[in-house]
Symmetry: C2
Subunit: 388 residues, 2 copies
């Protein structure tokens, strides 16, 4: 009897999610001579529709080329299946004679598998492989995809700070992250001392106030002659309200049918830019929205991230033997190790930055937070700023 693995990718692409895909395919082949590995196109959508590509037919060279490519090679989806949809997914898995379904993604992806698990009756192993640039999965020390995105953000802020040393002013870079601030905090990973930017960091874990931001910028600017700020797009005000409400005149706020404020990174950026113009009329002030740039930048792929993502893929094939679960990337005594935890332990949960990683009063990442980030990132690039 041949062993059939179905594999799919969910949620936002990363620089290394294809390493996980290819790690799983190569391990399945190596461990099961008659393994059949089907890739579902566009996540569970492809499973439900029976839209599969036969990954067993590819040469190792083809697979290595796919692994080295950022983005989700099979396509992805943001669908959050309801019960009826889950029924179609299970029907698709059964029609494919699947022994196991490996789904690479974040906590939404784990959530989908949890719903399927309740229905599948244990006949198909449902294995979640972690992936997210947000680094917000519980049970994990860090997640595949995060380090490469963090590398981009760290490199960007070293570079922007050098730019603003040369032509002083105020800079705000808005970084992805709705709930967890790890990626934004990475902006500060390589600071050498307090003169280096980002001088101020704002993450979703701490309540945000525009008045405090303006005051923080003013005092930083007075002290260093420039101010570089890293801000999560997910920052919220003390009352939990979206930041836009305290920045944009009510007449210009757009609301959806539920009365919720519609906010994109771009809107936030523009509103901030206007406020900075008012507060610092004579200063060069610029707000950039990094948007999708950090999450799959082909020029900033961490070697460690690449290897860990591949190893997670390999491990999923072992994990399938024990039934359903979520692969977790853990670190104990300095050693990285992979384990399987229950889907319920991960699904729908969001890991925030530990309180000790961020000093909300000072709007900065603490030494403990920096140490965590430096443990993951490559060494800082050598730079010299001795002439100014």
């Amino acid at each position: 009897m041949s062993k059939v693995f179905v594999i799919a990718q969910g949620g936002g692409p990363t620089a290394v999610i294809n390493q996980t895909l290819v790690g799983a395919v190569l391990a399945a082949r190596r461990r099961h001579k008659d393994a059949h590995v089907l890739g579902a196109r566009f996540g569970v959508r492809g499973v439900a529709a029976g839209d599969f590509v036969d990954l067993s037919a590819l040469t190792e060279d083809d697979l290595r080329a796919i692994a080295a490519t950022p983005g989700s090679a099979l396509g992805s989806t943001r669908d959050k299946p309801d019960n009826a949809y889950c029924g179609r997914i299970l029907a698709g898995l059964r029609a494919a004679d699947a022994d196991a379904f490996i789904y690479v993604g974040g906590n939404d992806t784990a959530g989908t598998l949890q719903v399927l698990e309740a229905e599948a009756g244990g006949k198909i192993a449902l294995v979640h492989a972690p992936k997210t640039i947000d680094n917000d999965l519980v049970e994990n020390d860090h997640t595949p995809g995060f380090i490469s995105a963090a590398l981009f953000v760290a490199e960007a802020f070293v570079s922007i700070d050098l730019d603003f040393r040369a032509l002083p002013g105020i800079y705000v870079g808005i970084v992805m992250g709705r709930h967890a601030g790890f990626l934004t905090a990475s902006a500060a990973a390589w600071r050498r001392d307090e003169t280096d930017g980002p001088h101020l960091v704002y993450v979703p874990e701490a309540p945000f106030s525009v008045d405090k931001l303006v005051a923080d910028i003013r005092s930083t600017f007075q002290r260093f002659g420039r101010c570089v700020v890293a801000m999560s797009e997910g920052v919220t005000t003390e009352g939990g309200g979206p930041l836009a409400e305290s920045l944009i005149p009510p007449s210009r706020l757009e609301r959806d049918a539920h009365g919720n404020v519609q906010l994109s990174g771009g809107d936030l950026g523009l509103a901030l830019q206007e406020r900075l113009k008012q507060e610092f009329p004579k200063v060069r002030a610029r707000v950039d929205t990094f948007g999708y740039l950090p999450r799959g930048f082909i020029g900033a792929i961490s070697e460690r991230d690449r290897q860990e993502a591949f190893d997670v893929g390999v491990f999923t094939i072992e994990a399938c033997k024990k039934g359903s679960g979520s692969v977790a990337l853990q670190v104990a005594e300095g050693e990285t190790r992979l384990a399987t935890v229950a889907l319920a332990a991960v699904a729908g949960k969001t890991r925030l930055m530990p309180a000790g990683y961020f000093d909300a009063a000072a709007s900065r990442v603490t030494d403990a937070g920096i140490a965590y980030l430096r443990r993951l990132l490559p060494s800082p690039p050598p730079i010299s700023t001795r002439l100014l």
Copy 2:
């Protein structure tokens, strides 16, 4: 008699402008045993104020570390000196006993030297070293700083296109460039075929129409199921009017005291985002403004750019012997060579993309344009998109 060189950096920083600085310092030392090299802080501002750092006192190791650092190590300025200011600059050069003044920058920088030349009476050699990510200096095949910025943009669009293959939608990336489209065109340098993004490119050299943009996006989206667009922040409408006027409702347009529309990349991005939402309400549409990210990104420095910028610095010391002029980076029969041309040949002039590099009707870079960019950039990174 010791030989005194004053050197300064003007305009926007780049990834390799410090290579030029250090190339000049090392060459001055090597060719003139008693050379004294003074770096002026913040461009001509430092010259006028007598704010110098003694570059002769630095070790070669220190200098190599500075060379490897993006940004302008001496600081920069956007000052465009009038006659009185030029008088103070000349006084500063004379007070320093300068035999030569080397100013690294773009066409504004060459323009400052041209004004100084008229006043200086030939006693001080005034040498312009080219630098600009816009690649818009006449007399040059390309300019130091451009290739590294182009590398960032090419990598960004390869990566974004992979992202949008996985999660289809519409993406517009707005790239720096007020008048010349070289940097934006670099987005297309590594396209393999017509399925690859950017599917559409808009540069300042061709008149822009929002209606054409929307029609172009619609037909591209129908054809490929996604659409990736690269747009210069400097695009203007047929009549030469700023793009904002055709995008933003008149009630929301802000005008300055002269009635000119106030427009930043962020405003343009937001206006586009709103228009795309109206036109394609059910499609994931995102506009990102790259802003300063491409111009000094420490993770995307071209080896060729680094070497050429250094060589330009070395050459300035030779050029000083012949009096004032602008160093030009030329290519003849496939060989790169450095020459000196008159300051007047470069100052205040803007080199646009040759007409043959861009097809305005198709909104795409031509094969000739791609060939030019590929001649400068490193080889494209290997990627595989065979599963979709």
